[in-house]
């Protein structure tokens, strides 16, 4: 062991008392062992810490509960892990304003319990142990993305510490505000590569008085089932019944092709809308079931151990049937049956392969899926350069990533690199996180 490397530099301890040598296993970030772990107790301490890290030229990986660290590429280097979990307070819950200001290390579950006492919620589906900062940094959003959007849509103010240790704010604590650039948008989904999020302010929503899932099953082996399920999704998503979620789940075994729609509202309203929606799904060819106050679509929680490979497909909803066919074809050509699920009505599906799938097979599946979907997206090419969808490998063993090759980069990549260079000219914040990143 390289003891010289692991002795905590005095400059780090001076900046932040809670700093220690990292444990090679417990603190590993996606298999990469960091040197030090620091737990700042305030934005000021976090700023001092990042100034010290900058002076030492250390690479930095921000960490909340670590629930999202496996979703994305592992860091190419991680000298210093900054653990935000000492900053776990709900600073202000202005219930009358439907606004809450929260420290980044607060857990989503704790925040939910504080807000629920006033009949309110942050309308983001995420694991209860995930931290607020982690959810913003990863852009985590579950089924209710369909109605409420992603964290970026609910974030109205943010405090960040830049790579050079400078503290910056944008937005505020009012919902309607167009003063200045919106750094909250920029940091949402930035995966820790632009700086450290230390505080976030959100717009809240009232907890609904009633909710119900209306689900419909489609015979998965009939040739027209995929098209029928897709039609059910688009009918629900385009209806004036205001669903909060429009989900699809396609798994084998047990064989199921299911569309689920979440309704929220008043008890009488939800009852009436549920029966209207059941009719809509039946017309599309499904067998509907109305289940009051049940949440059967928690696909972001692993059902059996960690997933091996997770691929996210995003698309314009018109293409849903073609996307499902591409998933079926990619599976058939590789002999694999992924679990497909996600907020299909919002144009997102996740295909998961079990960890037991051999790496070369998983990589072949990813390549086959990419090939077929690029064909689907190319069909809608309109000469403007707009490619209406994408495939992103969110999680995969390193061997699968290497064999599958990189995803098509997002549009605006040159500008993204320019932004990164401005915020983190030394490329020290979570280096290597984005596969096409600097």
């Amino acid at each position: 062991m390289d003891t010289e490397r692991s002795v905590v530099p005095a400059a780090l301890s001076a900046a932040c008392p809670a700093v220690r040598e990292a444990s090679p296993e417990a603190d590993a970030v996606a298999g990469v062992a960091p040197s030090y772990v620091a737990s700042p107790a305030s934005t000021e301490e976090a700023a001092a810490l990042l100034r010290a890290a900058a002076a030492l030229g250390l690479t930095v990986v921000p960490r909340g509960a670590g629930t999202g660290l496996g979703w994305g590429q592992p860091p190419s280097s991680a000298d210093l892990v900054v653990d935000l979990r000492l900053m776990d307070q709900v600073i202000e819950h202005a219930a009358g304003d439907l606004v809450a200001r929260v420290q980044a290390g607060a857990s989503m579950g704790y925040l939910a319990s504080v807000l629920a006492s006033a009949g309110q919620q942050l309308a983001v589906d995420a694991p209860a142990e995930a931290t607020v900062g982690g959810v913003v940094a990863t852009g985590t959003a579950g089924p209710r993305r369909f109605r409420y959007g992603a964290p970026r849509d609910l974030l109205i103010g943010i405090t960040v510490v830049r790579a050079d240790g400078v503290v910056a704010h944008s937005g505020g604590k009012v919902v309607k505000n167009v003063a200045g650039y919106d750094l909250g948008k920029l940091f949402s989904g930035s995966q820790g590569t632009l700086g450290l999020i230390t505080e976030a302010t959100f717009r809240l929503h009232p907890l609904p008085a009633a909710e119900a899932w209306v689900t419909a099953d489609f015979a998965p082996n009939s040739p027209s089932a995929l098209a029928a399920a897709a039609a059910a999704v688009t009918a629900a998503a385009g209806s004036a019944l205001v669903p909060s979620a429009v989900e699809l789940r396609w798994a084998d075994p047990p064989v199921v092709l299911r569309v689920g729609v979440l309704l929220e509202g008043t008890p009488s309203g939800v009852r009436e809308r549920a029966s209207q929606l059941a009719e809509l799904l039946e017309t599309a060819g499904g067998t509907p079931v109305v289940a009051l106050s049940e949440t059967p679509f928690r696909w972001w929680e692993p059902e059996s151990g960690p997933p091996g490979t997770v691929v996210r497909v995003t698309f314009w909803v018109r293409q849903l049937a073609s996307v499902l066919e591409a998933l079926a074809a990619a599976g058939a050509s590789t002999g694999l049956r992924p679990v497909v699920s996600g907020p299909a009505g919002a144009g997102v599906l996740y295909a998961r392969l079990d960890a037991s799938v051999a790496d070369p097979d998983a990589a072949r599946f990813v390549r086959a899926l990419r090939d077929r979907l690029e064909g689907v997206f190319a069909q809608s090419a309109d000469g403007s350069g707009l490619v209406r969808g994408g495939v992103a490998v969110l999680a995969a063993p390193p061997a699968v990533r290497a064999a599958a090759g990189p995803d098509r980069p997002p549009p605006g990549l040159d500008l993204m690199r320019a932004v990164k260079d401005q915020f983190d000219p030394g490329h020290r914040m979570f280096p290597g996180r984005f596969q096409w990143g600097p």
């Binding site: 009358g96 009012v174 200045g180 989904g189 009232p206 403007s384 030394g426």
Partner: protein
């Protein structure tokens, strides 16, 4: 005309066609301001490109010549965001007004930036869909301008702002390159540049195509008008409605003076003698709206409403909205000149700020009519003055500034939807610290290092992008080059 501009003219004629390049001083003068007429600056040159490629070529020509440029949509902005640069080129988007595609299944439309806001909803209506952001200028304002300003409207309380309804932007970067931000799906990889660009007030590039989300038209829309003796009573009704867990599509309030103005202008026939009028709109599935309507009505009565009117058909609803929608223009009937302010406070601070505005008005002798989006705390005080009376314009400006100070004291914002533009850049340091503004400008430096794209807007002092603060430079070289300092030597 500067030599640089003179040299650009033939190139611009090649790009846009001779008929779409304006050099005549009289014609140039028609572009000297946007909706904020108190700031005027005649552009050196005006060009009207017809395609994204022409915009890109025009911007590239400006970039090569080092000439600043400003984009303009319909010119309805209220903060001078489209104020021309006197030595620069004004790029007018009004020839780019096609709705390129409506995809009702995906609930998306692709439009050019010069398309008016209302035209999007009109194109979507045959499919039972609409475009939600609805600034009150929606008949004329352009979607491109909405993107630049992140426009809201009366219904953004429930449905959100432009940034929540745009899923793809084709832009021309300040160096003249065409690129997409976002792919229309609404879910992106990498940095959310689409989100950062929206609301950047034309300082990060020029939008040439916009993918917008469309929403299903609500099954029913109910509008309710409640009259109160005071704005405080109306404010209590607002708090009670929100407290009951209801998010109406809109909650608007007008005070006695703005009601008086609206009566004079459009004879809206609001309840006589009302000190405040509250408009609450509920939309959604019939079964939900009926339940909510009963609750809202009861809460409005409990708060002391002297009269309640309800409407559920478009014609009756239009009657209720007539007074509110005319309010800005209507104050012209009761005052020769006025300033439209756009502050925001937390909703629960509305009463306190209204009281402060009343005392500011009393102590200065400057009348203030209040129209506001009560649901989200966005105030539009109309500060009335007579420019023929010496000193009144200055006094009105002072009251207007003091109102913003009051908003900031309550933890609010200097602008809810009109933007910073040239009008409010001097207030930015009151709301944000030097480090905040410096950090925002890192985004500017990434997009527009030469600072040619709508310069002088939003930020009180521009950042010199080449000039990286010392400690950051040290960090950069420490990380990348072991022999720190060598870069300076060579």
């Amino acid at each position: 005309m500067t030599a640089a501009i003179e040299a650009l003219v033939p190139r611009m004629r090649e790009i846009c066609g001779a008929g779409h390049v304006i050099t005549d001083p009289l014609e140039l003068r028609t572009y000297e301001c946007d909706g904020l007429t108190s700031h005027r600056s005649v552009p050196a040159l005006v060009v009207l490109p017809a395609t994204a490629a022409e915009v890109a070529a025009a911007v590239a020509a400006c970039a090569a010549a080092g000439v600043p440029f400003v984009a303009r949509g319909s010119g309805t902005g209220l903060s001078g965001g489209a104020l021309p640069h006197q030595d620069g080129v004004l790029i007018v988007m009004s020839r780019m007004r096609s709705v390129i595609e409506v995809d009702p299944v995906s609930r998306r439309a692709i439009v050019e930036p010069g398309v008016t806001n209302l035209a999007v909803s009109k194109a979507a209506a045959p499919f039972g869909l609409f475009y939600a952001p609805d600034p009150s200028s929606q008949v004329v304002c352009s979607v491109g301008g909405n993107v630049a300003e992140n426009s809201g409207g009366a219904h953004c309380l429930k449905h959100g702002f432009t940034v929540h309804h745009v899923t793809g932007l084709q832009i021309v970067t300040p160096s003249g390159e065409l690129t997409w931000l976002g792919d229309g799906t609404g879910v992106g990889s990498g940095y959310d540049l689409l989100g950062a660009f929206t609301g950047s007030e034309g300082t990060l590039g020029i939008v040439t195509k916009i993918v917008v989300k469309l929403m299903p038209l609500p099954e029913v829309v109910h509008t309710l008008l409640a009259a109160y003796a005071t704005t405080a009573e109306g404010g209590r009704a607002v708090s009670d409605v929100i407290g009951a867990g209801i998010v109406p599509a809109a909650i608007e309030m007008m005070d006695a003076l703005s009601i008086e103005a609206a009566e004079a202008a459009v004879h809206c026939n609001y309840p006589e003698g009302a000190g405040a009028v509250l408009i609450v709109e509920l939309d959604g599935p019939a079964s939900e709206v009926e339940a909510e309507l009963a609750t809202v009505r009861a809460l409005c009565e409990k708060a002391g409403a002297t009269e309640i009117r309800a409407a559920d058909d478009p014609a009756q609803r239009a009657v209720i909205w007539a007074g509110r929608k005319s309010a800005f223009a209507a104050v012209g009937r009761i005052s020769p000149a006025f300033i439209v302010q756009d502050g925001v406070v937390p909703r629960t601070s509305l009463g306190a700020v209204l009281a402060q505005i009343a005392s500011l008005s009393a102590s200065s002798g400057i009348r203030v009519a209040n129209v506001f989006h009560a649901g989200d705390g966005n105030l539009h005080p109309l500060v009335l003055y007579d420019d023929a009376v010496p000193g009144q314009a200055e006094a009105a400006e002072e009251v207007s500034g003091a109102i913003l100070d009051a908003c900031l004291e309550q933890g609010g914002s200097i602008t809810g939807e009109h933007g910073v533009g040239v009008d409010k850049s001097r207030y930015m340091p009151k709301m944000f610290g030097a480090d905040d503004l410096d950090t925002m400008q890192l985004v500017r430096c990434a997009f527009d290092p030469a600072s040619l794209c709508n310069p002088g807007k939003v930020f009180p002092t521009p950042r010199l992008c080449g000039e990286v603060p010392g400690h950051r430079r040290a960090a950069q070289f420490a990380a990348q080059h072991p022999a720190a300092g060598q870069a300076e030597i060579f």
